[in-house]
Every structure is written in C-alpha cells, then in structure tokens.
C-alpha cells in the first residue's frame, strides 16, 4: 500500500493555496490506509462512561472495522477489549449494551469474566490440548490503549500513540464545556438513532464544521422557524435558532468563528447569548458562579466540536453526540444520541429533546438536507476533469496563528483561529482535518 499524500492534499500556505483532491473521498486504497492508520491505528472515541455506569455493565462499539467491548468489572474498573472470542473469532457480546458478570461465547461456550479473563474453555481437560496451548492466555484481547477523559472514553488499537491528554491537547477544554454543565457530568438520553448515508465519512467531518451551508441547505427549515415565530403557541416546537441572529446573512459584526488544534480537532462556534431558548438557561446563574462568566458564556455559545477522527459534539439547536463509523469509501454509519447534563429539570430535558428531534434526527427537518447533499457530493466526485475541490479557501486571509479575545476567556490556546462575521463562514478549519490526515498517512509506503 503506497499513499502519496501530496496527490490528495495540496497544501501551500505561502502561496495561499489549499486544495483537496476528490479522490480522497472515493479511493479504495485511501480508505484502507485510513482504516489502518487512523481508525485502527490511533485514538478513537469509544463511548461515554455513563453508558456503563454500574458494576459489570458493558456496551459495544467499533474502532474502524474492529468490534469493541467496553466492560466494567465487579470492582468498577473499565476496560476495552476486542469483542471477539479468541477461539474462533465469533463476536462475543451481541447487544449494544447490557450487564454481564460473565460473557459466554454462543458458538463453543468459552467464557470470560467482566475483567476479560478466561473463566473456562469448555471440556478443556478432555480436549487433549498440547502444553503450549495450556500455557497460552485464553482471555479477551485487550485494546492496547484505553483512557477516560472526564467520562469520554477513548481507545487505540495501536500502542504506539501519545498519551490521550497529549492527543486531545487544548481541545480537551472544549470537552470540559460539555462535562461541566452539571456537577454530575453528562449522560445520553435513552433512545439511540442510527442512520447511514451513501458517501464518504469525511463529508460528515466537514459538514459539522461548515457554517457556509446553513442558509443554503436548510431554507425549508428556516421557513418553518419563521412560521413558528409568527404564530407562537404552546404547541409548537420552540427552537433556539429562531431566537438567534448570528447565522442570518444580514447580521453585522463578529458573531463567531473557528478554532483549530493539532491532531485534527476543530471547533466552529457562534454567539447565541444567554437565552431561555437554550435548555441550559435554568443553570445560567449557578454555572457562572461555579465556573466564572467566561466559561459559562462559552457553554451557551453555539459549538460544533470534532475530536478527530470520529467524535462530534454539536451544541446548537440542542445537543448531539455523534460517532462516525466509515463502512466503505462510499458508505458511512452514524450513531447519534442526545447528550445532556445529568440532573436537569423535566422542563429543560423536554425542551432539549423536542429541539433535538426536529433538527438532528434523520427523521427530522434538517439533517436529511445535509446527508442528501453528501450523497450528491459523492456522485459528483466522479468528475475528475478538474479533480481539485475549491471548498477550502474561505477565510484564508482571516486565519491567524493562536487564539483571540474569545478563547482567552477560557484560557484556550488553539493552533489557529478565525474571527468572523456571519458571511465569512471560514473553510480554513478543514485544513486541520487534512493536515492531521496527511500526517497520519504520510509515511504509508
């Protein structure tokens, strides 16, 4: 497998050029390299600690194509394993989540305790095994690196990675903004939504950070908001968007911007203000007291965060945690949840859920207009007369090294930042994705 990254990413900052080749989204070899080097060769998000809160609780997920079991043992210690029986390879835990002191493989009854240790090899004594076999460890394969940052669980199938704190770097402070909304931390609202789209995983990566598409892809949703604004009644689903001007093209002045970090982590953000349309409003005073006004105000900003490569936390209309799972170059699975501060009031939770369903669900009124556009892109990527995309150029002369007065409020030190009015819609934040991508794939030979 040979990947010449310069054939896919044309990064010439001195000349004001950053381009991405369409083939990066379609090429099978690129996909194989991404699986090997990024998803199965480095830190990926596995889930929230809150998904396995009690002794012996577990949940299952994937690191790239590899099935993963995250399991809490009887003493409360969390570990991550390859969810595959060492005997014949069968997937061990069959459900998304559960509680098990013991996992028994349904194929030949090999069993494992909640710490991943082998409990029994069925009929071992009668099995006429060699001494070499008996000396082998028959426990579950441990994911080589596993770490918990404030309830966000990450794993790496390669041991050759920096510590998680170093990998997250300054972007960890943006996870703090999620975790610190309640003293008890964050949880997932029951009810998971899974959808697929027939396009490359990096389209989801980009769209989360894409301020430019909102008024173009979502005018039907915007029209619904306008109608609701005119005819307010208790029945309508209230949305934070209708109470905010930051995304409207006629809005003047600085309304938000972007930050990018080493290793491909990215945030785009906008000012919503401390408004009752945000479910967190009931905690506005206590959060300011607990964390200071700067950090409180940041919790109320519109924030779309990507922790490269597979975690996105979008706090805008509501609050969504997304896990991106590439299936093939042209097929992606998204597992999505409503993430919420533990202990919020019934009214706030209801408001959060209603806003979530309308905006974020693939059965709602906004996300389908994004994912259908990804599919249109994937079709268009076949056009290689000019293979170089022009979607990475907005904000080129506005991007500066380091942070700005907004990031200073929470002592956040990004690698680069853009301060923007509503029409700038920075695209240089994508550069962080593709620079991280190129670093990871750069020495594939």
């Amino acid at each position: 497998m040979t990947i010449d990254v310069s054939a896919y990413v044309d990064d010439r900052p001195d000349e004001g050029i950053f381009r991405v080749n369409r083939a990066i989204f379609t090429d099978e070899q690129v996909f194989e390299a991404e699986m090997a080097r990024i998803f199965e060769g480095g830190w990926v998000f596995l889930g929230l600690e809150a998904q396995a809160p009690a002794p012996h609780d577990f949940f299952t997920t994937f690191a790239g194509r590899v099935p993963i079991l995250v399991q809490r043992d009887g003493e409360g210690v969390l570990r991550a394993f390859v969810n595959s029986c060492p005997h014949k390879g069968a997937r061990l835990a069959q459900t998304q989540a559960g509680n098990a002191r013991l996992h028994v493989c349904p194929y030949h009854s090999w069993s494992f305790d909640s710490a991943g240790r082998s409990k029994a090899v069925k009929w071992q004594k009668a099995g006429c095994y060699s001494a070499a076999f008996d000396q082998q460890d028959h426990g579950l394969a441990v994911v080589p690196r596993f770490a918990n940052y404030r309830g966000f669980l990450f794993g790496s199938l390669s041991a050759d990675v920096p510590p998680l704190a170093e990998y997250l770097g300054e972007a960890a402070k943006l996870l703090d903004l999620v975790a610190d909304q309640s003293e008890e931390g964050a949880e997932l609202v029951p009810g998971q939504v899974t959808f697929t789209y027939q396009a490359n995983w990096k389209l989801q990566l980009e769209n989360c950070s894409d301020a430019y598409h909102f008024t173009s892809a979502h005018p039907s949703y915007i029209r619904v908001l306008e109608r609701r604004q005119q005819e307010t009644s208790g029945e309508v689903v209230a949305s934070v968007w209708e109470n905010s001007d930051y995304w409207k093209e006629e809005t003047q002045g600085i309304g938000g911007g972007s930050y990018s970090f080493p290793n491909g982590h990215v945030l785009n953000w906008g000012v919503f203000g401390i408004t009752p349309a945000i479910p967190l409003y009931e905690s506005a005073a206590v959060l300011a007291e607990r964390h200071g006004e700067g950090k409180r105000d940041w919790m109320f900003n519109m924030r779309n965060l990507t922790i490269f490569p597979n975690l996105q936390v979008a706090e805008n209309a509501s609050s969504q945690l997304r896990v991106i799972r590439p299936i093939s170059p042209g097929l992606t699975e998204m597992r999505t949840w409503c993430i919420a501060p533990k202990g919020e009031s019934d009214a706030a939770r209801r408001q959060r859920i209603r806003q979530y369903e309308d905006f974020f669900n693939p059965t709602g009124m906004a996300t389908p207009d994004d994912t259908v556009s990804y599919e249109n892109c994937q079709i268009g990527f076949a056009g290689t007369v000019d293979p170089w995309l022009q979607g990475y150029a907005r904000g080129m002369t506005a991007s500066v090294e380091g942070g700005n007065r907004f990031s200073d409020r929470i002592g956040l030190n990004p690698a680069r930042s853009v301060l923007a009015d509503s029409q700038l819609c920075d695209e240089t934040l994508y550069h962080a994705y593709y620079r991280a991508w190129a670093e990871r794939l750069g020495d594939v030979a």
């Binding site: 029951p190 009810g191 998971q192 697929t196 005018p219 699975e333 859920i353 369903e357 693939p362």
Partner: protein, 166 residues
C-alpha cells in the same frame, strides 16, 4: 345513539389515510387529524424495547398538535428541501387492522404496515415496516385521528425517513 367504531370503518379510515399520503394529497391527509393530535414514532432504547416516555427519552418523531404536521408538510412541499425534491414515490400497505377498544366516541385501533419507497434521486428502493396504534375520536359525523403511534421496526435509517414513508 351512536354506534361504536366497526373494523370496516377503521379499515376504511386507515386505508384512506394511506392513499392520501401515497398520492400526496396532504391537505386532505392533515384534515384527518384532530388539532391536538399526538403523532409519535419512538426511538429504540435497546434491541427489544422502544422508548416509552417522550418527555424524558428520545423519539424519532414526536409532535403534540396538528400544527407541527402542517410544518412538516410545508417543508415537504416547499421546493426548498433537497431531501424532499423530487419527492420519493411511496406506497403503504396497511393490514391486520383490529379495533382493540371502542365506545361511542373513542376507539383504539392497531394495525401493521409496510411502506415501499422508491428514491428517484438515488435510484434505490427501500422498505420500512412496523406497527400502528391509533386513538380515533368521533367529531360530529367523522372519526378523526387523535393519536398515531408508529413503531418502526427497521430503525437504521437509510439517509432519510420522512413522514411520508412511515
């Protein structure tokens, strides 16, 4: 003296609703619901259980009030939604209709459905299937839908599922 809803009446109503959606007669479709209708498609919380409390748990769709369905129809027909233009071709097959409770003014009806959708944009056909649970309410001479719960059994959503394909 008004008679309780019969199965024949229930079938007539459910089949008519399906026909109106399939033929995109949305105004007539909306007129089949009470103004305070609860329109609910729960999400699944595990392999075997859907969510049960729409205020504390996530649904795929939850609306209280016909007005919200009017919003959905407005979006569908606005020409401003990429995902809805051109509209997919759909056909609903509604079967196993049972009147599970009925008095003079209210009736509970259960049924099963399959909805075949052809997405002309992507040239692909999909099938969605599940159960319906209705509460019907007599309003004058008509029976209207006061509650519709859709339990979608194949809930891994291929890009989009709108109100027309459930």
């Amino acid at each position: 003296m008004t008679a309780p809803l019969t199965r024949a009446q229930a079938e007539e109503l459910l089949f008519r609703e399906a026909m109106l959606i399939d033929t995109r007669q949305y105004d007539a479709w909306l007129a089949m619901f009470t103004p305070d209708v609860e329109f609910w498609m729960p999400a699944w919380r595990s392999e075997t259980e859907t969510t049960t409390d729409p205020d504390r748990e996530l649904s795929l769709i939850y609306y209280k009030g016909r007005r919200n369905l009017e919003d959905r129809v407005m979006r569908l027909t606005s020409g401003l939604s990429t995902a809805s233009t051109p509209p997919p071709r759909v056909v609903h097959v509604v079967s196993n209709v049972l009147v599970t409770a009925a008095d003079a003014d209210i009736a509970q009806v259960s049924a099963v459905f399959t909805c075949h959708r052809f997405d002309v944009r992507m040239n692909r056909a999909e099938c969605f299937f599940g159960r319906y649970d209705y509460a019907l309410r007599r309003e004058g001479a008509d029976w209207l839908i006061a509650r519709k719960k859709i339990t979608l059994l194949n809930d891994t959503i291929p890009t989009v599922v709108d109100i027309t394909s459930i």
